[in-house]
Symmetry: C2
Subunit: 219 residues, 2 copies
């Protein structure tokens, strides 16, 4: 069922819709859904409110599109990291520090998910995107532990449990970055410290004894 006929300025349209989503993401990561107005979003994108209703059904629809946009962008990052690293300990290491480096982006996603969960807007589409988001993390982490146990570099830990442990901790770390550091540097520093400590503790929980080689690369 492909759309035919003349696609008039369709490139332009996509740009505008995306500009609106970017503006919405930016504003929604700093303020709640209800406190960000249609006018705010339009102004931020250099457009008027009417344009939002041309590209989206209503404000809720823009929220849906924005959350999906943010999650898909984050998932792309997730894949870039996880596809290029085979060695389990190295991948976990990268996973942890990806959260330090991208704490600002990931903080926005987390903030949006929290906001969405506490809003009256509930759609299957977003629910699935959120599930995909956390599911990907779970798959990556469980896969790492599993593989590490098989190859013998890890001697301890259940994949399911470690996965929950890590992703719960990282949620906390990213959240702290959001709560503490309004100034970006402060947030980054807070996350960095806690992740460093956590990594050491994690290696110990996994019975991993080769961290010196890894941490010299990034730390």
């Amino acid at each position: 069922m492909k759309k035919v006929g003349r696609p008039r300025q369709v490139g332009q349209a996509r740009d505008t819709a995306e500009a609106l989503k970017r503006s919405a993401l930016d504003l929604l990561s700093r303020n709640s859904y209800r406190s960000v107005t249609i006018k705010d979003i339009g102004r931020e994108a250099g457009l008027t409110t009417a344009m939002i209703y041309y590209h989206f059904r209503d404000k809720n629809d823009l929220l849906r599109a924005t959350i999906e946009y943010a999650i898909e962008k984050a998932l792309t990052r997730f894949q870039e990291v996880s596809e290029n690293i085979d060695e389990p300990a190295a991948l976990i290491h990268e996973w942890l520090y990806m959260h330090v480096n991208l704490h600002s982006e990931l903080g926005k996603v987390l903030k949006l998910i929290i906001d969405y969960n506490h809003s009256d807007v509930q759609t299957d589409q977003i629910d699935e995107a959120v599930q995909r988001f956390y599911g990907t993390e779970r798959d990556v982490l469980m896969g790492c532990v599993q593989k590490g146990l098989e190859t013998g570099i890890f001697s301890d830990g259940k994949p399911e449990e470690i996965s929950i442990l890590v992703s719960t901790f990282l949620d906390g770390a990213v959240l702290r970055g959001q709560i503490l550091g309004e100034t970006d540097a402060q947030g980054a520093a807070a996350i960095q410290t806690s992740v460093e400590v956590f990594e050491r503790v994690l290696w110990s929980a996994l019975g991993f004894r080769g961290r010196a080689a890894l941490s010299s690369r990034t730390g």
Copy 2:
């Protein structure tokens, strides 16, 4: 400068103000500040909107009072736990499981703090209350580690680092409880699992070898 003269129905007034704060807390823990209306809060408390303006300056003032109210209640709980337990490992254990048992209350506080941080309402009073909240946790945890190292039941770990590790993790756990379990049981289960795993990992990080005696009490 003490107020004298007849304090007409002053007890009643305090009750009403507190009822409003309780209603506000309840609604604000499930919805954002901007999406909760003055009318909602009034209705929840069985009163009209005008009463809010009798007891509080405006909506922002009610938010401020509500956050302080929630934080003070949580701090009271914190003290109840930390005052009655001397042994460091037992106190840390209780601290962790307090977050499981009170995940609903603490989730509300966390939600309010996040909301406050992302609102345009910024007051020194609340900032101080938030600092006191996290400061208390920090003091308790650092105190435990310090004492444990001195008495020799812990053989490893820096107080500052462990404190950051634990409180960051617990933020994540409580947040997960909020995100996942709209149903209270689900949230509790999710937190419980992750805290159990974390506790084991933590004892290992502290070089603590007596956990069997402790976990049999609560686990």
